[in-house]
Symmetry: C3
Subunit: 357 residues, 3 copies
């Protein structure tokens, strides 16, 4: 009960951010308060989506979760695109994937692993997540490599659009796989209720307009917070002397995925690794195969040259994180040392981004 009130009190951060923006004019402070205000808003959107999802039946519900689960990242991405902050957009995509795979995933494994000496989870879910994430890495390697060379034929916008179409198609296929053809194979090892139902257990006494209204209000508030954040970005980056990519990769990404993090740790503590890791992996897949390509198409509409060419260090970091995940997860079992390994990889990559990766 207490934690619920803390989350609700978090909504107050948004008006605070706005007041600071209006009257104090210190960009660094506005930036951090706007960042912090995104945490409860992202959680509110996630909760409302799950409340709706539960009411719609499993198929439509999972689709809802799969489409709106990372709505906060999308709204923030659109705001940053509108102001031309491409490095922030790309950085927050990279960072969200890294944070989910290494920080949320590693933290969950350590949390579960200190209580249980061996943790098991569904191998099929692991291997299909890893394969789709590896495709996302390939989709970023190709334009990044081509952008390093000097080839007259290379048209970054066109290539990224075509690759984005492949990614979205693959995301649709992976939903079809999980919800239709291999639904029963992807279920958790114990025959408990599937993950989304478990997570939303508290929601089903609320009327439907409550969730629908909550979703709309939270989305609108997120849009406002995103505007404040992006508006303060230039000033904050100058004051803090941090590269924009680092801000996107580490700060924004951790903030945007804080809600996922706390939920995943909760399930990991009970030893329910299928749900804990499922949250981390589904969120990464959604960012990589849905949010990133949608932002490419939004870029066309806004006339901003958004493509899938990242910095060399971002692509290497993504490749490293997917291979690190494959090394520990493909066998369907893990332990605390492997969780610590993921956290250590995150720490080393984070240091690299700090020093200007």
């Amino acid at each position: 009960m207490i934690s619920r009130w803390v989350w609700r009190a978090g909504w107050l951060l948004l008006p605070v951010a706005w007041l600071l923006h209006r009257f104090v004019h210190d960009d660094a402070i506005v930036f951090f308060v706007a960042c912090a205000s995104l945490i409860p808003l992202a959680k509110a959107m996630g909760d409302a989506t799950e409340g709706l999802a539960e009411r719609m039946g499993p198929a439509v519900g999972s689709l809802l979760n799969a489409t709106f689960g990372n709505a906060a990242e999308l709204i923030l991405g659109v705001a940053a695109l509108r102001h031309g902050h491409l490095d922030l957009v790309k950085g927050s995509i990279t960072g969200s994937i890294l944070a989910n795979l290494l920080l949320v995933g590693g933290g969950s494994i350590v949390t579960g692993g200190v209580r249980f000496s061996q943790l098991r989870f569904n191998r099929l879910a692991a291997s299909s997540s890893i394969a789709t994430l590896f495709l996302a890495v390939v989709a970023m390697v190709v334009p990044t490599l081509l952008s390093l060379g000097r080839n007259p034929r290379y048209d970054p916008a066109l290539l990224s659009e075509e690759i984005s179409a492949v990614l979205i198609a693959m995301y649709a296929l992976s939903l079809w796989f999980g919800l239709r053809t291999h639904r029963e194979h992807m279920a958790a090892l114990d025959d408990g209720p599937p993950a989304p139902a478990k997570r939303a257990r508290t929601a089903h006494h609320r009327p439907i307009w409550y969730d629908l209204g909550g979703l709309l209000v939270a989305a609108a508030a997120t849009a406002v917070a995103s505007e404040l954040l992006v508006d303060a970005l230039n000033g904050a980056v100058t004051t803090l002397q941090l590269p924009e990519t680092f801000v996107g990769v580490v700060i924004v990404a951790i903030v945007g995925n804080a809600a996922e993090h706390s939920t995943a740790l909760l399930f990991a503590q009970r030893g329910d690794m299928d749900v804990a890791l499922g949250i981390a992996w589904e969120s990464s897949k959604q960012i990589a195969l849905l949010v990133a390509p949608v932002l490419v198409f939004v870029g066309i509409l806004l006339g901003v040259p958004m493509d899938l060419a990242f910095t060399r260090f971002e692509v290497v970091a993504l490749g490293i994180s997917v291979i690190a995940l494959a090394l520990i997860a493909l066998d369907g079992e893990t332990n605390w040392l492997e969780g610590a390994f993921l956290l250590a990889v995150y720490a080393v990559l984070g240091l690299g981004f700090f020093f200007g990766g």
Copy 2:
């Protein structure tokens, strides 16, 4: 029966290509007809090799298959080398491996996977194929990396010759492994007859001179078609405004492996994944560990500076495809989503080559 006559009618493409070359002088058309004429010729050489192989008993037979199975690629490669088209030669090596691993492999898995929810295959065959293919990637990474730097000690020809010797030795060892020391472990999961015997079931009423003659005639015809193709290459590349590497990687490679593709899909449809994937993997191994190093040595004889330094994008694409294969195949089971994943990786890499990778 009908399909057999279609294949035989395909032989007519060669005289058509020659007539076009002689009287029409449109390089792009000659190029495409010569390409198409290679499809039935490659299949005829493969069939004749298998017919002979079956008659020679399993050991010599498998050796024949393993040596002449990609004779068409070798003949085409020699023709391209003689005209100094190094980019085409290297591109068609890269492309053959990519096409076999991702296109034939992925297509087979999707074909089998839409009928059976889980596909199983021999894990030992998978892991030994993946290891040998990874060695081939290493063999291309090393000269490519060195050729990017400026080192006075670096002698590209000598390095590539020594690496080629290692590759051929490893290919011989992998044959020894499959045919001698671990023959029974490599057999298909069900106790059916081994793969080559299955594929050649229709052949054993023909007299031996039929296959021997067929092999020689098809090889000679392939040499003629290769000459026509290579001769028309410069003109075709200019007309179509395509980079030579793309022509090698995508067009020539798909044409040269069309026969393997159709056979593999046939077996995949029956759920016989050991044969279907075996065709794709054996063909890749043969190109990487036999055809490529033999072409290096042929280059010495012809005085052409053929080495194993590829473009950066080619090497990255090969590395990606072997890791993608490892992610899905090391556990000995797969499903349609993993096949779709391989096809999506092929699509993204193909787009990259199109835009000048």
Copy 3:
């Protein structure tokens, strides 16, 4: 018995090296004799450490082994650092890891594999070794990538120190894992005595001062041999026309790990792959996660700019070797072809270093 006297006779190489240094002044000869003299000294230190370890009980004993097992590499590294031979230090770190994983590991698998058609080993030990080694690769990729760019924020010394702290912490955690929380899971498959005890069976009749004194004397002798070697390095490199990195990666690394190599092969011959591969993997982990970061901190004390930025080729070679190991070892079984594969990868990488990688 004979082999023991050969090892002891090897101690004579050190005075020979000193005499050559004093009276002959041929740096190449001094270099090679000093190199050779390191082989028995490294073995003597390893034997003494194990003798002590056995007497201290399993926990302290394993800690001793884990800390002093690669004392020879550390002593040589400090000597090379003092003379500013950074390329040699980094090369010998790279080379020790490569030699252990590919040469010792591959040689052990081939040795065991020619007698037993399938070799099994503890999967948990394999996967935790691979994960920690992959972290070491990441720890070298990050500074190497950053050092290739031109970023004003990049501070190589500070980044390498912070990464070194992460590595040492991870090494401590992996010891805690192996010695405490997952001790019984890491035991060999058969219920024989644990590895260190097996290796030191001959030691337990000797008095404790014998081992303690032996350790000190051997360490002092190693320091002298290292001085001679490093002192002769410049001359030897000029005479032999070999790059310093190659000398470190291949010559020094093979010499420094010769003792591990002979012990591992002995156990592999008996089919005891858990001990054979354990020696190779533990030694690699120790070099990567303890010796390398300790040398970074020693560099600070000596005022030498030692960091973790390696050459591009070294980092690629390390990444390749860890992935090669993962491809064959994650499933907990192997065979001679996979051992030959590791040796072939070593040969190709070695050729690359020879030609100036």
